[in-house]
Amino acid sequence: MSVRDEQQLRYQVTLVELVDRVLNKGVVVAGDITLSVADVDLVYVGLRVLLSSVATLEEQRERTLAAAGARS
């Protein structure tokens, strides 16, 4: 694995860990279930969107950097 792949992987794992914590861990003050089954799908959609938006952000950042490099 290249250093860049490794960084990307660490970043993505961190995001997955974050979303997992916010949605699945943490104290439930009312003894109720947290999300209905219908919402669970949303969570996974949300997670995919999050991960793909990270990839898009990275691409944009690189394009911006490349463009800035070309100008200077």
Partner: protein, 218 residues
């Protein structure tokens, strides 16, 4: 509706940021407990990237400003003040206990990504030999994950291992006292040096999400 971010101890003032949907953060004192909430619309806030990140950011900032924090799980809002008050009062002893348990600690997450074991000539194996090989591999995975987990758990006040559908070799969280975080990182680094063939991803320090619910007490 009222969205709950966390219960805190020793919070001097609210962090200068807004919550879900840009709402202002507010404090509530219920049964001797200190809560941080914000008002949302009449519906349960939808699970969006923005909402999840807003919740997480508030919790992070609160952790930096308080002596103890119990992060609340996202996705459960309270209809009104009465419902919030009743829920907190009912659970007050468990919440007090939870705050005491996580006080002075942060959480670290660890994922050791599963690695493919080399299958030499598996096609030439008989059924029995194949099964035996698979069982050996399983035993080896268990042994290895224990070897990684145990020295880390020794440094932690509490630990939690997560199984489930993941094929990670180890997926765990550790509640580590502040004074041992450096030692914990050193131990992770040591394990990485010992096992260059494994991809270990340690994340944190996190607010103690995985140790906030007393029902999951180890």
């Amino acid at each position: 509706m009222i969205h709950l971010y966390a219960l805190v101890r020793g919070l001097e003032e609210l962090p200068p940021l807004t919550g879900i949907e840009g709402a202002a953060l507010e404090r509530r004192q219920i049964g001797g407990l200190d809560l941080v909430v914000s008002q949302t619309g009449p519906e349960l806030p939808p699970v969006t990237d923005e909402a999840v990140l807003a919740h997480a950011s508030v919790v992070e900032e609160l952790m930096a400003r308080s002596r103890a924090i119990l992060p609340a799980r996202f996705g459960r809002a309270f209809a009104n003040e009465e419902e919030l008050t009743a829920a907190v009062q009912t659970k007050a002893p468990a919440l007090e206990h939870g705050l005491s348990r996580v006080r002075g600690c942060v959480e670290f997450g660890l994922r050791v990504l599963g690695h493919e074991s080399p299958r030499q000539g598996s096609t030439s194996l008989s059924g029995v030999e194949y099964m035996r090989t698979r069982l050996d591999e399983e035993a080896e995975r268990d042994r290895l994950s224990q070897e990684l987990h145990r020295p880390l758990a020794l440094l932690a006040r509490a630990d939690a291992r997560f199984g489930g559908a993941s094929d990670d070799l180890l997926h765990a969280a550790y509640l580590v006292p502040d004074e041992r975080t450096a030692a914990f990182r050193d131990r992770i680094a040591g394990l990485e040096r010992l096992h260059p063939e494994l991809t270990m991803v340690c994340t944190g320090p996190w607010p103690p999400y995985s140790f906030a619910d007393s029902r999951e007490d180890a």
